[in-house]
């Protein structure tokens, strides 16, 4: 312990993860993610390209949304420009572009709202900051509403709860309606309709992948741990992001779910038609598309005759599942009423842990000194368990039950104040890489601080987008791409399954095996 004192970092070693940048007006103005092709647009019921009378159609659509979404109307009217949100967006902190301040982003749309829908804006546009909808304004909409990850951090700090996510969803819906959609989101939604998942991963490939995972699990444990697909009469339908089938560290999380189900003796299945938990319909603010994507899950549950639905680790997906699924695809009166619909895999696992039904050898995770990234939409748009704030406690409880070294990052960057990974809300595309790296910097700085203070080596998350985003951007901040982990990967490592072979059996020296010592503390300031 004395070493910790002598090596204790001083204040200068830490950078403030939430530092306010110098204003750099219009520095991100040109960042234009690829637009959707006519083919992508068509599948979602949107015009293929910019319609001739786009100006009138856009204003009509805005008027339509103002009568359908109370939040949108109230948020357009209520902002007093107090400035409370101005320093709260990770994209503003990372870029310094004032149009990435939440209020300024909203004002791109609000200025047009005022011009066409308010008395002040109709007669005194200059006075109240109202402006006509022009091609330049439309370009600004496209570029800056695709620099918002809909993470809701600003809405926590707004005295009226104005949620920029709602505003950016409305803006994207207006743009889709006039034929100016974004390729990344719309192409993916099309794949869900065609194939069943975001990655366009066909059923035979999915079958083969799951079989190979079963073989891996058997090699590792000596047990037949199943990953059933389309199994009729199963009790539990697991809906998980398709990244869990193909990407790291997502796959290790999927292995973890399978082991938990195995340990609980659960009769579960995946579905080939609902082989995707994410619902990008939310990103584009399209109720109809979000509903259509959600209905696949209802249909799969009916088709397979399951009693419960459980969602895998996925952030925005958990928002649509927890907060919207009952609305979009309910009522779920055909499922077992003893369980919430849907449940989160973390709720399921933690419940088993609390009942004492899972056993762990925490020392197997001793090579990890761990922190936890609260995924934005889980933190600020959902809940887990029965009590408010369970979405913060349950994943942490699971991590503390499965590993010995856990340290939280700074309080103003976690839980409801968590800073987004920088890749959510339809921005996880290479054409926005510059923004993604800049937007992740507050989180990365907070991580560097716990690395210095506690020797933290790894960060766990429960969101497919967070995991993919961090794997990509962490190397730019002095970390390895595998420093990001799945929460259920920790479960998978530590869980003790009955009849399983000891994972250390292959080692020659397993009798005198000792937990690896934590990696040496990095020299002061090395990662800054």
């Amino acid at each position: 312990m004395s070493e910790q004192v002598t090596n204790a970092p001083t204040v200068e070693d830490y950078l403030n993860p939430l530092a306010r940048p110098e204003l750099q007006p219009d520095s991100m103005k040109e960042l234009h993610s690829f637009e959707a092709s006519p083919e992508h647009q068509d599948k979602l019921g949107f015009p293929g390209e910019l319609v001739d009378n786009w100006h009138d159609v856009a204003i009509d659509k805005m008027g339509d949304l103002l009568t359908k979404y109370r939040g949108f109307r109230v948020y357009m009217d209520s902002c007093v420009k107090c400035g409370a949100c101005t320093d709260k967006c990770h994209y503003f902190m990372g870029t310094g572009d004032p149009k990435n301040m939440p209020v300024a982003r909203q004002d791109l749309l609000r200025s047009v709202y005022r011009r066409y829908f308010t008395t002040g804006g109709k007669y005194f546009p200059k006075l109240v900051g109202a402006r006509d909808l022009t091609e330049d304004v439309l370009d600004e909409w496209y570029n800056y509403f695709h620099q918002c990850s809909q993470c809701r951090r600003c809405s926590v700090y707004c005295p009226y709860g104005i949620d920029t996510a709602e505003v950016s969803m409305a803006a994207r819906e207006i743009m889709d309606t006039i034929g100016k959609g974004q390729k990344y989101c719309n192409e993916i939604i099309g794949k869900v309709f065609d194939v069943g998942n975001n990655l366009g991963f066909p059923t035979p490939a999915l079958e083969a992948t799951l079989e190979s995972f079963e073989e891996d699990l058997e090699d590792e444990t000596g047990l037949e741990i199943k990953m059933p697909l389309d199994k009729k009469g199963a009790d539990i339908l697991l809906v998980t992001p398709s990244a869990d089938f193909v990407a790291e560290p997502h796959i290790d999380g999927l292995m973890g779910y399978a082991k938990v189900f195995h340990a609980a003796g659960a009769n579960w299945t995946l579905s080939s038609t609902a082989s995707e938990a994410a619902n990008f319909g939310m990103f584009i603010g399209s109720y109809e598309n979000m509903r259509k994507v959600s209905m696949r899950i209802r249909e799969a549950a009916l088709e397979l005759g399951v009693k419960r639905i459980i969602f895998g680790e996925c952030g925005h997906a958990w928002r649509v599942a927890y907060a919207f699924l009952n609305t979009l695809a309910g009522p779920f009166d055909f499922l077992d009423p003893r369980y919430p619909v849907p449940q989160h895999i973390c709720e399921y696992t933690w419940d088993l842990i609390e009942k004492g039904e899972l056993k762990f050898d925490k020392s197997r995770n001793d090579k990890y000194r761990l922190t936890y990234h609260d995924s934005c939409n889980v933190a600020r748009a959902t809940r887990m368990g029965d009590t408010s704030g369970g979405q913060f406690e349950i994943p942490r409880n699971i991590l503390k039950a499965t590993c010995n070294h856990f340290y939280d990052m700074a309080e103003d960057t976690i839980k409801e104040a968590t800073v987004c990974c920088g890749g959510g809300g339809g921005l996880l595309t290479d054409d926005l890489m510059d923004l993604r790296v800049k937007g992740s910097s507050p989180r990365m700085t907070a991580l560097q601080n716990v690395q210095k203070e506690h020797g933290v080596t790894h960060m766990a998350a429960i969101c497919a987008i967070c995991k993919s985003q961090f794997a990509k951007v962490m190397p730019k901040f002095g970390f390895e791409m595998d420093n990001i982990l799945s929460v259920h990967q920790m479960v998978s490592n530590a869980i003790l399954l009955e009849g399983a072979k000891d994972p250390d059996d292959d080692d020659d020296d397993d009798d005198d095996w000792v937990p690896p010592t934590p990696p040496p503390r990095p020299p002061r300031g090395s990662a800054a």
């Binding site: 009568t67 301040m101 809701r152 005295p159 709860g161 949620d163 619909v341």
Partner: protein, 243 residues
């Protein structure tokens, strides 16, 4: 003549203020919120939502989390304004009657509140000018709104501390308006400025960002109960899609 102009002005202002606000509230009320979008952690019961809303409206809880300077100035202004408005009840009510006796009690507090209000507004105006982030998001109307409120406060306080107005006559004027029995209004400069700006404020209230006052109560991220799994929530237009 002066009395007639101000009498009509205040009838118009009152009608615009009450009618405009009522229409706006009816509009907010009638637009559905199709999805559960409470900012979490959120209360899981209706009672909890009332408590959350109370903390938001009375204590500016979210603003406190956000920025202590804006919170201090905002609180000084709003709390000051609330007390000042309550103090003004004495110009409209019979303070000898038992129902209105509290109006007498708060008179001294109302006086200090005037200074608090001006200090808060001044702080907000200075921030709007000197903080580059806030200057960037400010329109002319944002400055003018603060300046107008400061002018209302300053002209009101002038009548107390600099050039006294015949306050008994002012009360008779307003009581006269209320009972349609017009009484003459004193022709004092500060009073006329004060009353003109207050009438203007009432007229623009339902058409401006001052709508944040009713708006906060209708904000779905603050007023929704966190129970989407327990209770199905569906808007009428969304239910149509299911047919």
């Amino acid at each position: 003549m002066l009395t007639t102009i101000y009498a009509i002005l205040f009838y118009v202002a009152t009608l615009t203020f009450v009618g405009g606000l009522a229409l706006r509230i009816k509009q907010y009320w009638s637009i559905p919120a199709p999805l559960k979008i409470a900012t979490t952690p959120a209360p899981t019961t209706t009672r909890g939502v009332w408590f959350r809303m109370f903390k938001e409206v009375a204590l500016f809880e979210s603003l406190f989390k956000s920025n202590k300077w804006i919170w201090v100035f905002g609180m000084l202004f709003h709390a000051g304004l609330a007390l000042v408005v309550l103090r003004h009840f004495r110009y409209f009510t019979d303070t000898t009657s038992l129902i209105w006796v509290w109006v007498n009690w708060i008179q001294p507090f109302g006086l200090y509140a005037g200074f608090a209000m001006l200090a808060g507004l001044g702080g907000l105006l200075v921030r709007r000018i000197v903080v580059p982030r806030i200057r960037y998001i400010s329109s002319p109307s944002d400055y003018l709104m603060l300046i107008m409120l400061m002018a209302i406060g300053a002209s009101g306080m002038m009548m107390k501390y600099v050039a006294h107005t015949d306050i008994v006559a002012v009360k008779q004027f307003f009581r006269g308006l209320m009972f349609f029995d017009w009484q003459p209004l004193p022709a004092d400069g500060p009073l006329l400025v004060h009353l003109s700006l207050v009438a203007l404020l009432m007229i623009i209230f339902p058409f401006s960002k001052l709508l944040h006052a009713p708006g906060v109560f209708f904000s779905p991220s603050r007023n929704m109960v966190d129970n989407p799994r327990e209770q199905r929530h569906i808007a009428p237009w969304a239910a149509e899609l299911e047919k």
